[in-house]
């Protein structure tokens, strides 16, 4: 039997209600589906681009010969050597075993992208991605960290609830759920923490204030794509770019939430990542960050008015449970 609804107008109750709406107001899985498809697509393209190097990077007679790869990276976590040891009783050699691991990773990503056995596909993709990260740690960088983080979320969050073969086959309800909302919120907050930490860390370096860092980054051999030495004659441009980066990253955790400022912040952060991709050659890092930002903050999880009525089993225009008093839709997104 339900407890009677009491009209509690105390500030504490107000905060609790607001928090409840922010974290649990039913949301559609559209942003989660965009994240799933985008993440899988970027990782598939990345796999296609580096597949020629696969054996060189992970085999015992590759760049890290014998057990040398174990000297790098964290000591905890699976490695290709462990998986190959499990496969060896089946008579599977190293090269065949590595190809099988690579193929399984690609199949898992394809299934994740299509939303077929989504959770299992996400779990397999996450595990194999982690295995590959650990097995050639010196070759990894930021794009791998973000992919690892969001593949892990894809296991737990209902990313297969929309635009997926699972939803098509099972004919499951597409109704907004609290699970989609809390999953979205955790990932959004994680992204905010990462930008804030990155921005604050940058702000402690004088080179980010006087503009030297961008000039330097553009001239380092690993990142030099174009001759940007002319920037030295216009230091104000480099300095403004540095300040803009600091403002965008530090301000992200505040200004990405209100709808009005999000219209400015989302294009700003997407431009920042496009700039990094084009000028520093970090194409996949740029791509994955654009996918994350666009999916998590660029796609509304709110049911459209006609859908709200549909989900609630009422005709469009009539009052639905989603618009009942006391059950306000989240205004944050």
């Amino acid at each position: 039997m339900e407890a009677p609804i009491q009209d509690d107008s105390s500030p504490r109750a107000g905060v609790r209600r607001a928090l409840d709406v922010f974290l649990f107001a039913p949301a559609t899985a559209r942003p989660l589906a965009a994240l799933r498809i985008g993440l899988a697509s970027v990782l598939l393209v990345q796999a296609a681009v580096v597949q020629a190097e696969f054996l060189d990077w992970f085999s015992r007679d590759g760049l890290f010969q014998a057990d040398l790869a174990r000297a790098f990276g964290p000591f905890f976590g699976p490695r290709t050597g462990d998986l190959l040891a499990w496969l060896s009783p089946l008579g599977i050699g190293e090269a065949t075993g590595l190809r099988a691991i690579g193929a399984a990773y690609v199949v898992a990503l394809v299934m994740l992208g299509l939303g077929l056995f989504t959770r299992a596909a996400a779990a397999l993709a996450w595990f194999l991605h982690w295995t590959l990260m650990n097995s050639a740690a010196p070759l990894m960088y930021g794009v791998d960290s973000y992919a690892h983080i969001f593949l892990f979320y894809a296991i737990w969050v209902p990313v297969g609830r929309a635009a997926s073969l699972d939803a098509l086959i099972s004919g499951a309800s597409r109704a907004p759920t609290a699970g989609a909302r809390i999953g979205l919120r955790i990932m959004q907050i994680h992204l905010c923490i990462s930008y804030f930490a990155s921005g604050v860390e940058k702000a402690t370096y004088i080179d980010w204030w006087n503009g030297e860092l961008i000039f330097r980054a553009l001239s380092l051999p690993d990142y030099r794509r174009f001759d940007m030495s002319w920037l030295a004659h216009y230091p104000a441009i480099s300095q403004l770019a540095c300040w803009a980066t600091l403002a965008i990253e530090i301000g992200y955790c505040v200004f990405i939430w209100p709808r009005r400022t999000r219209r400015l912040w989302l294009p700003a952060i997407l431009s920042l990542h496009l700039g990094i991709a084009v000028f520093l050659g970090l194409h996949f890092f740029g791509a994955i960050m654009c996918v994350l930002n666009f999916a998590l903050f660029g796609i509304s999880p709110e049911p459209r008015p006609d859908q709200a009525a549909f989900f609630a089993g009422t005709a469009p225009g009539e009052s639905s449970t989603l618009t009942q008093p006391g059950m306000r839709r989240s205004k944050a997104l």
């Binding site: 070759l139 955790i186 923490i193 000039f215 690993d222």
Partner: protein
């Protein structure tokens, strides 16, 4: 919040995001007893322990890795460790240079030996392979305006000779003893 599962979900989410915050702040949980170690391992598995200090080096330089292949006639050619098939692959391979800075001398030597072995494998004509790590120091904008060029200094190098063909290989059969 209205039900027990939600309350538990909130507690788990808050704990996870707390770990994300600690990871972002660079707090090392590994050394904080068994629970710290457990959380550290969870952080590795979930990515919650990641740091986000991109482009925050106080260092004005970067280590750059070169591999020279020297053939029987003494011709020296600088080769890439990547296959050159993609920029992404080249970028990742270039990151190996950073390991020469952090690794201990023995590990540094092992890494150089491993890279050289790969190059001998890839270039059968090679008689010697030289693994060179240079330190590239970028200039400041004012220095560039005054005509100063970036400096490149030697950081580490190691020369490896192709081992002579083994007896059994030359004779085409195994030679016991």
């Amino acid at each position: 919040m209205r039900s027990t599962p939600r309350r538990w979900l909130l507690v788990l989410a808050a704990a996870h995001l707390l770990l994300v915050t600690l990871g972002a702040a660079g707090v090392e949980l590994r050394d904080v007893g068994p629970i710290g170690r457990l959380l550290y391992h969870y952080g590795l598995a979930s990515g919650a322990g990641c740091g986000y200090n991109f482009f925050t080096s106080r260092d004005h330089g970067q280590l750059v890795l070169h591999v020279d292949v020297i053939d029987a006639e003494g011709r020296r050619t600088t080769r890439s460790l990547g296959t050159g098939a993609s920029h992404e692959a080249d970028l990742r391979v270039a990151h190996i240079a950073g390991e020469f800075e952090t690794a201990d001398p023995e590990l540094r030597r092992e890494l150089a030996k491993s890279l050289a072995a790969k190059m001998f494998d890839r270039h059968p004509e090679a008689r010697e392979v030289v693994v060179r790590v240079e330190y590239f120091v970028a200039v400041l904008m004012a220095e560039h305006r005054s005509g100063r060029e970036p400096q490149v200094t030697r950081f580490y190098d190691a020369r490896f000779r192709q081992p002579p063909p083994r007896l059994e290989a030359r004779h085409g059969s195994a030679h016991p003893g």
